[in-house]
């Protein structure tokens, strides 16, 4: 029991430290660069991609953060944007499904790719196939949710 408490305290500390060291720079960089033409160009290019799963331009930035850095950080930006401007629930749902399937695409993929000899096939399955799967699941569940909502309203 004492061992458990010790693990909880040290584990919580390193968890919080890690979250702090990632969240603060992400938020500061977002704030400083959000208005710049270069940042807008990146977000708009990403928006063109994620439009295909039903996400609008306002959802592009949180989705990009989650896609690159992880679900918790994308979730953090989603919570920030819900507070700032009313993000429609439908958009939050689509983002959550998409990011549930694919997030922290660089770090998490490397963790597993490091276990095996490098091959393009492995890279294909771990990255490309996973993104395609995420898009497929997002489209299917959005359609299903839309159907259920319409039926409930009737």
């Amino acid at each position: 029991m004492g061992q458990l408490l010790h693990t909880f305290l040290t584990g919580s500390f390193s968890l919080l430290l890690r979250v702090f060291l990632i969240v603060i720079p992400i938020m500061v960089v977002l704030e400083v660069f959000e208005g710049t033409p270069a940042f807008r160009r990146v977000v708009r290019a990403w928006a063109v991609v994620v439009r295909h799963v039903g996400l609008n331009e306002r959802s592009a930035a949180p989705t990009l953060v989650g896609f690159l850095f992880g679900l918790a950080y994308g979730g953090g930006v989603i919570v920030r944007d819900i507070r700032r401007h009313d993000l429609p629930r439908r958009q939050v749902f689509i983002m959550s499904v998409f990011l549930s399937m694919v997030h922290a695409v660089v770090e998490d993929s490397l963790v597993f790719l490091a276990l095996i000899p490098f091959s393009l096939m492995a890279l294909f399955w771990i990255v490309v196939y996973r993104i395609a799967w995420a898009a497929l699941v997002t489209l299917a569940l959005t359609a299903l949710a839309g159907f259920l909502v319409r039926r409930a309203r009737r």
Binding site: G75, F112, I116, S119
Partner: protein
């Protein structure tokens, strides 16, 4: 409500830095207060032996992925804890590269379900539904990959 317009780029930068720092601290707090209790739950689950129990229950599923029953352990470790813990318990298994890729897909989609679920809950989603989604969709993605790899 609106702040006066910034007159110089330096002033604007300082203002953005302040706003960003404030947003960062607020977000850090939002994440911390859901992640730490969720992390506590994962430790208790591990402590009471839930991981070993779930891994035993999941053993029969592994054949769908072309994996030995032992591969259920890293999978469940990933679900409850995180990717790094899962990788740690994968190393003892001596899987072929293709099997590692299949197992990796299931873990990449479903991991750290309690802590990340808590964040989704904070964003207004249902943590249980999303946990179930990630387990099922992750297993399905891995099973499909296993099937397709057999074809080519």
């Amino acid at each position: 409500m609106h702040e006066p317009p910034a007159t110089s780029p330096t002033e604007r930068l300082l203002r953005d830095l302040r706003t960003g720092l404030r947003a960062g601290l607020v977000t850090f707090w939002e994440l911390a207060r859901v992640m730490v209790p969720a992390y506590g739950i994962t430790l208790v689950l591990q402590y009471v032996g839930a991981i070993a129990w779930l891994a035993r229950a999941a053993r029969p599923l592994m054949s769908l992925l072309g994996l030995p029953g032992d591969a259920a352990l890293p999978l469940v470790v990933g679900y409850v804890l995180n990717i790094y813990a899962a990788v740690g318990s994968m190393k003892a298994l001596h899987l072929a590269p293709q099997q590692i890729v299949v197992l990796a897909l299931a873990i990449l989609i479903g991991h750290n379900l309690i802590v990340e679920g808590a964040v989704l809950q904070r964003a207004g989603m249902n943590a249980f539904a999303f946990g179930a989604l990630r387990v099922i969709a992750g297993l399905a993605a891995a099973a499909l990959a296993h099937l397709l790899m057999g074809l080519f």
